[in-house]
Amino acid sequence: MSVAEELFDLKTKHLLKELLQQPSVLFNPHRIAIMVELYCASAIDFPQLKYDLGLTDGALATHLKALANEGLIESKREPVESRVRTGYVITKKGISAVEQMFKILCEIRGGFQR
């Protein structure tokens, strides 16, 4: 192996450390899916999330509560058309958390490809 093909890679260790500093509440497939949907749409109501994720009311409510407790999303109860709906919006902290998590994972993946 030539010198040019070798790397003295200290970056991965740094990235893993950064990954471990991210809110642990995010590292669950359903919570990642909720955050990705909210990142794309800005706001989604409870029935739509339930339909998209195929979860029971209880399971979805548990995930949403965990994300809200961490300040990543906020729940809203508002009148829409003729009825009151419960919806969720992503917070500034939530937007930053999603971006940071995927940035770190993409950088780690970049290291694998070198």
Partner: protein
Amino acid sequence: MTKYSDAMAFLRALGLADDLNSFTSRKRIQKLIYMLKQFRADLKFGYAWYVHGPYSPELTRTLFNPSNVDLASKRDLTKTELQIVNRMRNFLAESLYSVDSLELIVSLIYVIKHGPEEGYNTKQKIIEYLQSQKPQFSAEEIEVAWHKIEKSEIWKNFLTKLRG
């Protein structure tokens, strides 16, 4: 000027700039920025179909997590841009105030424009796809939205390309 100040100028004209944090406003803003782009507003937010409709993650990022530069920049709409707002208002009419109606119209326009690339190249296929994605809307509601879109010249080129 930034993408944030451009979007905010349009939202101020629509009376939506003071309430960016409510669930209803955010839903409306995603749809209205898409509609403004249809009416040739120079708003550089990319849209893609995510799970159940066209959304712009870039809009989420820009409007709901603005930088200090964004917050410091402010501008008003030009005369041409105000005309765009008025044309859009006239087209949407009462749908401007209904989140559900806006969602249906925007989704339908998106599928009319981009559905043929995925094989949804007839009115029937487009309506069936939309019903599968949005079962909350009745066939009659979709038909009303279709007629509204059909009456405008803006999407004429896309509609004439459909088969059947």
